[in-house]
């Protein structure tokens, strides 16, 4: 049976169908999970896709953190299950305290929407397992609040535990240390601002996002087998 991925949908999420399609292309079966769900049973991995959960009111991710599904996401993560947050999903994971740091308005108040090159820094996270560090992937970004910040100690910790997963080759938003994606100490929770699902078909200009999604599918298969 193929790996089953739950794609969480909040009111205002808008990348869920693209994410499901890209995950299927990466070899998984994927299903939408409404934010009121209190269980993630039967899933091998969970993805929080992009969009504007709860309208991004207050701060991106601030209200989504209180959706019932987030309790299930926290338990799933604590049990070692792979959890990925893409763009708005990354913002939700930081607000929920499942990833360190925060995402603030871009440098210069500039909305960025373009393909960018990101370099894989750590090949040990759920999203980059088996991907050689140094690999450069071309994946689109599309955000206003994507500038990653954290205090100096957290930044040192991130580097120490291999939590700096992806870095921009050219920093589009002012993120500290050009960070595009981070992982928790265990490596099973990963957030990234670029949208891998938007780089999953030659028609979209790049298939580099599949490198990450396939790594996720392989990680989830390994967790299930363990």
């Amino acid at each position: 049976m193929s790996v089953r991925v739950g794609v969480v949908v909040f009111p205002g999420t808008n990348c869920e169908h693209d994410t499901v399609a890209a995950l299927e292309r990466a070899g998984a079966s994927a299903a939408l999970v409404w934010h009121t769900a209190e269980s993630l049973e039967g899933f091998d991995a969970v993805v929080l896709p992009g969009g504007f959960a709860h309208g991004d009111y207050l701060r991106p991710g601030a209200i989504a953190r209180f959706s019932p599904v987030m309790g299930a996401v926290a338990r799933f993560a604590a049990a070692g299950g792979p959890v990925i947050g893409i763009c708005n999903g990354f913002q939700v994971l930081t607000e929920a305290g499942l990833l360190p740091g925060a995402l603030v308005k871009n440098r210069g108040l500039r909305f960025v929407c373009m393909p960018v090159d990101v370099r894989v820094e750590s090949g040990s996270s759920a999203l980059t397992a088996g991907v050689a560090p140094g690999t450069v992937l071309r994946i689109p970004v599309n955000h206003f609040s994507g500038s990653y910040v954290c205090d100096d100690r957290t930044l040192r910790d991130l580097w120490d535990w291999g939590g700096v997963v992806l870095r921009y080759v050219e920093n589009p938003n002012g993120s500290v240390d050009d960070i595009a994606g981070v992982a928790n100490a265990e490596g099973n929770v990963v957030g990234l601002m670029p949208h891998p699902e938007r780089a999953s078909d030659t028609l979209l200009g790049s298939v580099d996002g599949l490198v990450l999604l396939r790594a996720l599918v392989a990680t989830a298969a390994g967790v299930r087998a363990a």
Binding site: L58, R59, T94, P100, A102, V104, K105, N106, L109, C150
Partner: protein, 90 residues
């Protein structure tokens, strides 16, 4: 007792504030070239019931820390009154 609360949320020192910086850059064009250190933030007003001012403050600070601000990047300041705040309806 009924209290009126005002919570100001602002970016912590050391966190870049592109909104404040952009406003500050625009000011000389309007003749406000004597203004410095503009910081953008936001404010929330609400009413709450509490036995005394200390309890009201504690409650408002909890709300500020749990939801209104993200402590990783923001600081808050709580202001309490027993009478409606200026500009509040009713």
């Amino acid at each position: 007792m009924r209290f009126s609360a005002r919570v100001e949320v602002r970016l912590r020192k050391g966190i870049a504030d592109p909104e404040g910086a952009t406003i500050e850059r625009a000011l000389p064009a309007l003749g406000f070239d004597d203004v410095r250190d503009v910081r953008a933030g936001r404010a929330f007003r609400f009413e709450l019931e509490a036995p005394d001012e200390e309890a009201a403050r504690r409650r408002a600070e909890q709300l500020a820390a749990r939801l209104l601000a993200n402590p990783v990047i923001e600081d808050t300041e709580v202001e309490l009154r027993t009478t409606p705040l200026p500009g509040a309806d009713g």
